[in-house]
Amino acid sequence: MAASSVLVLVEHAAGTLNKATADLLTAARGLGEPIAVLLDTPDADEALIAELGKLGVDAVLRLRHPRVAKYVATPAAKALAHLVAQRQPAAVLVAATADGKEIAGRLAVLTESGLLTDVTDLNSEGAAVQEIFAGSTIVRSHVTVGTPIYAVRTGAISPDAITPQPTTPTVEEFTVDFSTDGVSHTLEDAQILEEVVEPKGSRPDLADAAVVVAGGRGVGSAAGFELLEQFADALGGAVGASRAATDGGLYPHQFQVGQTGKTVSPQLYIACGISGAIQHRAGMQTAHTIVVINSDPNSPIFEIADFGIVGDLHTVIPQALVALRERAGH
């Protein structure tokens, strides 16, 4: 008997797959046979198909349409709704990014289905694990109505035990009737006029860096963050910041870690001058190793430290930099 199919919305940008796609495929394999849904512009070439083949994808459904890059979430939601009606998959998986969640929400309304967001694990019965309340509670839930929709938090899914065999996927093109209301867009469409990428410098991406050196109010000044940048560079890491630091103008907002910032799960997180509010921990407590430098021994951040230093970051970090340089010396 053929396994039931699971639609996976392929995450890609600028002609390459995002890391999230591999995670989504892994999660999907636990539920059934993944079918990659690739939404792309009309001039798209075959490069992404080859990349999907490397990830072991057998079947690709591709829509090439100018709308895909023009409007936020609506074309993707309509395309997926069309495929759900046509193919009756066991589930639909999207990445739990801002776009992915918006697509999931629209799809839930269009298909009258339940959805679960920020899923960190999925079992073969479709039970999903989610972390709620700033990661302090772990819940297991399932969808009871319609075609289950999962927005999966990428980076959280543990990789396949066995590396999937590379394939040459079969590609089926499909089209969608984007019904118009006498205008060239449908009523729900919001048009993307321009995409602006802000300079982030030469450091690794905060979201998937192996090492994150983060600073809080205790760093004291924007100049103090230069010390953190040196520390991060010596460790090959990214720089993060608490909300007190970003609100206070010590470091740009895009580097904020926490409930209202980025969620990171690096091998090493070094929290400098951060007290450890629940909302900050929400974004970093799944880090593999946590190091704390804080002058107040009563700061709650010490509760989650693997290695904690009660001390002034302005003396501890320079000393650590010297020690790092000495190690690099031999």
């Binding site: 936020v72 801002a98 929400g105 700033a134 839930s141 919001a190 979201a207 020690a323």
Partner: protein, 275 residues
């Protein structure tokens, strides 16, 4: 439409995100008994944005909440910021509603009100789903400008692409992982905002006094023509099977009053093969 702008702001009462929170042991809904209940922080930014937009051009700002009876306290608090009135959807049968059904109810309530713009928070601190604006857009057949860090309402449609109807457009900077997108849509529309968009005001004593007499009207499911069985735990599209606290991390090594702390840090990293 260069005249007044009527705005509905969606506000939600949530448990304080800075304090420990839990799910109720009996039915796995958010525990509203223990801990402080507050206005969802992001919604304060939504209120501020509505007040900012209507300040010059005029128009009504109405708050809309779906929540239990005690949510009225948070609504009163939210009114202190300066909105004109509030609508509170409350009904026993709503307890345990999922996001899909919450959007059904809020959409029905929005159809009973007059507005040009709906503004809400980008996400709630308890559910953190960040799906509601998209769901409402889909249900109401209006565009959603989501995740805004900047919002402008533009009356001159010149230069705006695809302006079929006479109206004005909303334009946002939509915060993304790598920067932002400039996104535009015609009104009526729904906008969701991040905490980067403005600085919410603190109510003055006068604002606090004025809020006491502002009207809060209530709606129940019957008013909206929605069956009890379609919402709440009975109509939910997903179910929580189990909720457990995260296991605590193992206690680590703490170094205090040590002049070699920085060096020891590097030694520690070396033992874990992190340098």
């Amino acid at each position: 439409m260069s005249g007044p702008l009527n705005v509905v702001v969606l506000v939600k009462q949530v448990p304080d995100s800075g304090a420990p929170r839990s799910l109720s042991a009996t039915d796995a809904t958010v525990d509203r008994e223990s801990g402080d209940l507050v206005v969802n922080e992001m919604d304060e930014y939504a209120i501020e944005e509505a007040l900012r937009l209507t300040k010059d051009r005029g128009g009504q700002v109405t708050l809309l909440t779906m929540g239990p009876v005690q949510a009225a306290q948070s609504i009163r608090k939210a009114l202190q910021m300066g909105a004109d009135a509030a609508v509170h959807i409350t009904d026993e049968a709503l307890h345990g509603s999922c996001a899909v059904k919450t959007s059904l109810v809020l959409a029905a309530a929005l159809r009973t009100l007059e507005w040009d713009l709906v503004i809400c928070g980008a996400e709630s601190t308890d559910g953190q789903l960040a799906v509601l604006p998209a769901m409402l857009s889909q249900r109401l057949g209006i565009p959603a400008l989501t995740g805004a860090r900047k919002l402008a309402i533009d009356d001159s449609v010149d230069g705006a692409a695809e302006t079929a109807s006479a109206g004005c457009v909303g334009r946002i900077e939509r915060q993304t992982e790598t920067g932002y997108q400039l996104v535009q849509a015609e009104l009526p529309a729904i906008v969701s905002v991040w905490d980067t968009i403005n600085e919410p005001r603190y109510p003055t004593f006068r604002d606090i006094m004025a809020a006491k007499s502002k009207p809060i009207s209530t709606l129940c499911l019957a008013d909206l023509g929605i069956a009890s069985s379609d919402v709440g735990a009975a109509g939910a599209t997903s179910r929580v099977d189990e909720a457990v606290p995260r296991p605590p991390r193992q206690a680590g090594v703490i170094v205090e009053g040590d002049e070699r702390a920085g060096t020891k840090l590097v030694e520690f990293l070396a033992t874990r093969r992190l340098v």
